[in-house]
Symmetry: C2
């Protein structure tokens, strides 16, 4: 196969396929990226006969995808061509106007990193992650099967969706939350250090993803503008209702807070099961090597299964708190065991 684009995603695909015994030719407009990818086991730079290529994976930045797919369909006349972009419908419409697309099937491996480039790549980046395949009406069944085989070789979990359905879903549950986080973080940029000194865990959680790469996100949200604009308009209506309710002499925001509770509960829980209300205990951990190992050793000795864990840092103090989530019926046993083992156990939570 031929890999065009040796960034994080492309190099990781090259590594996974090479590990699976597939011959991979690595191409990148940036020769040093291609060399690094080859050095990290993503394939070779030896050109293959274009007529012999069965699969081309286009892993270039979102804005370049349509043109590169178009060219690849011309150059590799017998190959199935796929891409790995986060938005599928616009590039499809761009292409389908002027050519047959039976050999093209879009796909979207839902994995990534806050790091970019071939150095951050890993053959198991997609392992058991969701990989959405987005066939269109003209996709040949053999072409779809080829892209499915690609995702399986990368050890991913397949979901098949129409391109427009995919774009609507990721627009709503990924791109829209990103923009909401961006709006809040933009307000932070205007605030004084005195205001920011009272920041707790809540605002950190809400704005974490707004720290993502502006260059990449600009391309993603621009490509999915058709889905995002109506979602943002619905958000503006909701914001307007909230503001009006808060402006009343007797504010009445309860319905919106209750609806938000319902929305949080609708998110699929851990491992795809419905959400479980875990109990949690909070343990103070000294900021020193070995504390976490000792702590989890004592948790293990208590025979309690840890469902989730989070370190809560307080910007005002020199220790962290580790919150350990367990099934509610194990909370008391764990609290007792950890207290007996000498840990400071509390119900302290991040500031409201």
């Amino acid at each position: 196969m031929v890999l065009i684009g040796a960034g994080l995603i492309g190099t990781s695909i090259g590594q996974a396929l090479t590990a699976a015994g597939v011959q991979v030719e690595v191409r990148d407009a940036n020769p040093s990226h291609a060399r690094v990818a080859v050095g990290r086991g993503a394939g070779t730079q030896t050109p293959v006969d274009p007529a012999e290529v069965a699969l081309v994976v286009v892993a270039v930045p979102p804005r370049a995808i349509a043109a590169v797919v178009d060219e690849a369909l011309d150059v590799y006349r017998n190959a199935v061509v796929t891409d790995v972009g986060s938005v599928k419908e616009p590039q499809l419409r761009e292409l389908i106007d002027h050519r047959s697309l039976s050999r093209y099937v879009g796909s979207h491996p839902m994995a990534g990193s806050h790091l970019a480039g071939p150095l951050a790549a890993s053959a198991d980046l997609f392992s058991e992650r969701t990989w959405v395949i987005t066939p269109h009406e003209d996709s040949a069944p053999e072409a779809i099967a080829t892209v499915e085989a690609l995702a399986r070789l990368c050890d991913a979990r397949l979901i098949t969706m129409a391109p427009a359905d995919h774009d609507r879903a990721v627009g709503r549950v990924s791109h829209l939350p990103h923009l909401v986080s961006v709006l809040m973080a933009g307000q932070l940029a205007q605030m004084s250090p005195d205001d920011l000194a009272l920041a707790g865990q809540g605002v950190r959680d809400v704005t974490r993803i707004a720290g993502g790469d502006p260059g990449l996100w600009e391309q993603i949200v621009s490509a999915n503008a058709r889905v995002l604009v109506p979602e943002l308009q619905a958000l503006a209506d909701r914001l307007s209702e909230l503001t009006q309710r808060l402006e009343r002499t007797e504010p009445d925001v309860r319905p919106l807070l209750a609806q938000a509770n319902a929305g949080v509960r609708k998110l699929p829980g851990k491992h795809g099961a419905s959400a479980v209300d875990y109990a949690s205990i909070v343990i103070e951990i000294p900021d020193a090597p070995g504390s976490l190992a000792r702590l989890f050793g004592d948790v293990d000795a208590a025979g309690v299964n840890v469902e989730d864990v989070a370190i809560e840092h307080d910007p005002m103090r020199l220790v962290g708190h580790l919150r350990i989530y367990v099934h509610p019926d194990r909370e008391q046993a764990l609290t007792r065991a950890m207290t007996d083992a000498g840990w400071r156990v509390s119900t302290a939570a991040p500031p409201l």
Copy 2:
């Protein structure tokens, strides 16, 4: 001292003061709450002579604070009275119109829990947490000193702010992010299971705090409406600008994304220092007792200090990934050591 209101905050204060040798009378409109608080070491229900009381702490729900403070100033004629509400200015204005307030000093211990009530209380709930003292112009210096002593007995870190400055700061960095999270979670409530199946870590982070108690948050944001309404209007302007930029034939959202990056960087980092860009590695953990203890034992053996840690669950797979943050110059050593110890180490991140 007299404690009025035996919920999570009040009972925790009673426990901390009782542990410090202070005699505490616990009062609550709900007799079973008072009994539970006393049973958990928050003080006694034995009435003391009101004229002898030096300090009254009002720890009732936000909506009831002003009336209870007012009554306490009448009943306990020689006592300093404080409260623990999240919003300070409105109740002060309500009181200052019709009485002398030299014996009243507002305060806001910034600690809490997703649990409520005396059963969730803990004597160390405030330990090294921020406790904002909000004296007003008429507060007597001795009254301020008494409330400062209260916060110190609870092992909290004091910050002194004017009531209006406090309300503006928590409005911006705590209440506003809460409402932003509520707006996003409200949109989730409208989405189909097919859309929600593609939800990753990002939307979970953005909407986590929207799962908070609607009854409590309604009172908090209503009390701080004066601060929040202009902040929400600024957010609406920002949202409108974002939508307009996204509607253009050539969308141009880069400036807003870059400003959001700057906002995230302005948040004080771990332990109040400026934020450090930690490196992180991701390790696959089997969902079984003992995995975390073994894992941190191996991290410890590598001699690398863990700066932060987060478990990333993928709803589609049966394992979790632990992301370990370390200083950038220790990343390679830890990756090598953990790989050698047999762990699956990758650069995998949550879906974009």
